[in-house]
Amino acid sequence: MESESNSSKVELQHEDDPLVDIPPEFPATHSRFPTVPSVAFEESIRDAAKYKYEPGKPSPWILELLGISLDEK
């Protein structure tokens, strides 16, 4: 973020959108669902091996919020 202040000046100087700054390494397109899992997501689920999965019961108040019951599940 070393040149953030400078870049702000440029933005105002050029009357450009002050908010967009997408790096060139970025993929060209985006769709709602990726066709392959991302590197980051795969890293996050690799933790599954370390993580002891213990299915917990949802709190009743959450279900109430959703308007569904355990029976419906």
Binding site: H14, P24, F33
Partner: protein, 813 residues
Amino acid sequence: MTPPPPLRVSGRGIGTVYLSLPIGGFSLARQKFLESINALRDRHSHRELRNPSFLLLTGQADFAARIDVNDFRSVVELGFPTHEDRSPSVYNWVSSVEYDGSNAPRPQIRIPIAQQIREVFPAAPVSQSDEPLMHFIVHARVLRSFYSSKPVEAEATLVQRIRDLFYGVASLSIETSLGWSDLIVSGGVPADGFPDLLRRLIAFNTFKAGTSESDTRPLFTRTLTLFGYEWDESHNRIPRVSADVKALIFVRSRYGRLHETKELIENSIRGAWVHVTDGKLDLVGEVPYIRKSFFLEHAKIAEEQIGEDLIQKMETHLLFGQRDDANDHAVILPQLKLEKCNCATALPPVRLVNMTETLEHALRNVYFLFQSALSDPTNCCDMRPAILACDNSLQRYLIGRLGRAKLKRAQSVARIDANPDEASGERLAAEEELKRHAVPVGALQRKIETWVLICERVMRQRTIGSFDELLGQSDRALFYRGGAQKMLFLADCLMNDFYAIAAPRMLYQQAEGHVSTTLPTFTFATLYDAVERIESVIGTGFVRVPARNIFKLVAVIPDLWHEVGVHIYFQKRLRDGLHINNPRDRAIWIDLGDHFGDLVVWIYGFDCDFESFAISILQSWRESVATDEPEPMREVLFASVLVRLMFVMNVRISLIAPRARVTAEELEGTVSGIVRKHFDKAPLTNKVRQEATASWNSDVYREKFGELGKLVKSIDVKQRVAELKPQARTFDDALTSFEESENLNQVFCQLYSEIQRTRKSVGERAQNDFARMAALGRSAVLEYHRRLRPIEKQPTAFERDFERGFPEFPVQE
């Protein structure tokens, strides 16, 4: 004035393909068309393809083949013609929906009683009448300011006036087109009704609109009239028309056969006098008046039954113009505001800063095309949103980024210059920095080159099948075989509206240092493309939509919202602490974009209705995954979907019950319950659930989730749901009007949700809702014609809020 009856649409669509064929090519084209229909029926048994019919046209195009469908995807998937068919040189598909004429007065013409009005061409394969009919098709573009006020009522009045005009003269079909035309009026008359038909067509072209008889303007900005007759190889359907109208036959002969061709026409068509001409055609045959035998003689030449291998191309036009009514036909509506548009002044000058010479030339060419399109009064108002979005994309986003990249590069050069000692640490560091800062400059120039290509496509898709091209040019139809301008226009407007609502609130925190900035009104330009799923070109506002989806925007509206949300996300940057040169961090940033997009869709699209939002996620995911995707891959992709649902659920809970501490298991269990409820075949295995829970608990996203969640803390979800609940609507086949500031995205959302509810489960087929979707689509297009006026840009309410700093949404730290 008696109000017109409600305007309703038919439950079926119409696809008509206009073909230019070589002389004698009709029989083969007919056969190939029927073969393609049968092949599609075999592939999609649930698709209805009815009443294939054929007209031999006398004008520039030669053949019109038509089919009724219950799903416009059939027109895309029909795949007719192909290069293997060889014979057609030009084709253009026109998609349309008939305005239901069941309430209209029945015309009193001599057609057998059993033949219903709507069954005459273009609805019938071949007329069952004993008497062959002469057919006409008129494509018309309506003056945009005609829709300036109460647009649905205006359209209904116009349709009624057209019915009145042709009443008693011709059977009639009035259709609303999804392409360049607004209205397509077609019908047929017995031979002795032809002179009267010509007078009505002249009258049609004199239609005017105004607030009073003394204040009118021509109503149609363009019309295109075609004549033809039902065609079969036996020539039994050729009408024996006799009329006091002149015919001109334009002929291009084969090389070296000019005089033989001249003799052929003079000997075969009674009364024809043929001239040799300069210019693009070789011969012009003049026929002083049409005899009863004229069209039969014409057909024999056109089908090469006589004069083999003499003619390359022949087109015949009728010269008529006699008016029997000195008065113009005026549609008087007191509420009209017939201002002239000023689209021609809408485009700002292009800032060619720091461009290479090659790129500068290309940009100047594109802007010339933009200006040319905005100066064409026929089409300018419909193209303006997309052109201004293209301009915004270049000038606001890409040039801004290029300017910043060049500045950073220049700063690095200055730092090098300030450290002349080549061995010094400062100098070496500056050189490393320069390498890093040089990359974006080249990359952005390449992105601007891509921008040029995409803009060219955006322009092509908004002019294909227009007046000048419909019958003579199809080289713009790369991804779909005709024009779908109305759907592109609608998609642009819906996304721009959605952005105008979501962006100011979601961008506010980031933008508070730049309160003078206003958001662009036109940000998104849609194009249909060879993509498998809807996708956006990041940081530009271009959204690519598969051709099959462009006709069913209601069914994919959440996907469009998501791309708007992701566009906002990349405007916010939100990458503090992430190193973009690291693929892992970059992937995190992208993944977070999807979570952010989900939040935007949930809040502004579904008004915080989680279950409807979840169904949209599941349905879209189901459609996005390839059918042959291996199961392990499906599972891991679905685990990420589960995490996305968990994230929105967690935000929802934290907004409603801020002190709640919800475990991963609770979230996963709740979300999985909803998934099971709506998606029978979800790959919701224990492994998937475990992976989702593990991902949620891992450190990869944890802190970033918290940051994203804070973005929506200033929005009271409960209050939003209470205040902004859309007005409940009933959808049917009637066109509908909208309130002045009604949120059309929410109306689309309501119909979307109704359609989803007709599925037994996610992934199962929904009930066919063609008429309701068509009625809403046309109503929304008319409404956006109204809303896009006046031309002068007025800041939206949201932009004004944005300027003021959103007092009603204070930032909560």
